[in-house]
Symmetry: C2
Subunit: 198 residues, 2 copies
């Protein structure tokens, strides 16, 4: 019985590819075993179980994505940085839908703490640095940006924006412009009363 040379890493990479091709929830140990022409039970020497495999794919995706976002925003500021940041997420989601879906997988707290999740949070705050927000506004803004981008990406992936004639790219640009404008109002004018006009 020749050995195929499985490792947790190879399984994780193959799992990530399968996720992109068939969807993250189609990633099963059975499918993976088939793709390596190996019996399912053999995989249990390398990953603890199905959940463990998904966790590993999630960690891989979080790292990859953080690397991309990090490279995209390097040397940029203001609207430029904001757009690069947003595009990095969206492009990744479009190129790697399964991996992007994996980044939504609920990790165990200890695992999450050791993941690239922290880098994402830092990157988000780095983008806002140029807008000079004070706490707690900065936290509010981090949450809002995360919400908009993640929301847009998932609705777009679900096909929610393909019913009308308006191009999705236009709405995306409009959204980034709007967020930039919004954040800039905070830069120069920091009282809520004035900002909201109430």
């Amino acid at each position: 019985m020749a050995r195929v040379g499985l490792t947790a890493e190879r399984l994780t990479r193959a799992g990530a590819e399968l996720a992109d091709e068939a969807g993250f929830d189609q990633v099963t140990l059975s499918a993976l075993a088939r793709s390596f022409d190996v019996k399912v039970a053999s995989l249990y020497s390398h990953v603890r179980n199905s959940h463990d495999l998904k966790t590993r794919i999630t960690l891989l995706a979080l790292e990859e994505l953080a690397d991309r976002v990090s490279a995209a925003v390097a040397g940029r500021a203001g609207r430029d940085a904001l757009a690069a940041f947003a595009d990095a997420y969206r492009d990744y989601a479009r190129e790697h839908p399964g991996r992007y879906a994996a980044t939504r997988f609920a990790l165990a707290p200890e695992v999450a703490a050791a993941s690239a999740g922290g880098r994402h949070a830092q990157l988000s705050r780095a983008i806002l640095r140029g807008y000079h927000l004070r706490e707690p506004d900065q936290t509010h803004a981090v949450r809002m940006l995360g919400s908009v981008f993640h929301g847009y990406i998932s609705l777009e992936a679900a096909g929610s924006f393909s019913h009308t004639a308006v191009d999705s790219q236009e709405s995306w640009d409009w959204t980034i412009d709007s967020l930039d404008a919004l954040l800039r109002t905070w830069t120069t004018d920091t009282t809520t009363a004035d900002r909201t006009g109430r």
Copy 2:
């Protein structure tokens, strides 16, 4: 063999409850059969298959949610309407996490066309009526609002906002205020160049 009196409707309602308790992807025909103390095969007389059941739960959730949102925004305008709209979605997601998750289930195009999805789109546009946006800005704004609210709700549900001391309710209010302010800039000043300051 006494009959239990199953119907597609009863299965759908029980499925929705199960979704809220255990998660939408824990909704299985097996679990449902157990809860009715009936054999699994019996369910196939009432629903075509597992996918059909999930579709029915999705349609139920979309209707319920549209009813709630519709009632919430009735008689309101401006920021008031915007907040009522947003809160209706968020409250529903918090009270019925499984049903809210169901609203993200990908429906077949014909089914989606006959669903309450259209009502949601109309409600969204109704909110914007008070801000007097022209096309295609209105469409952009509809997409942005959908993105923010859906994104916020799903990130919040995933626990993404429970790592810092800042209260999630505050960020939510801040976000709604920000969106209101943003939309109001469009009301009085409609050229992109001026709005973004580029």
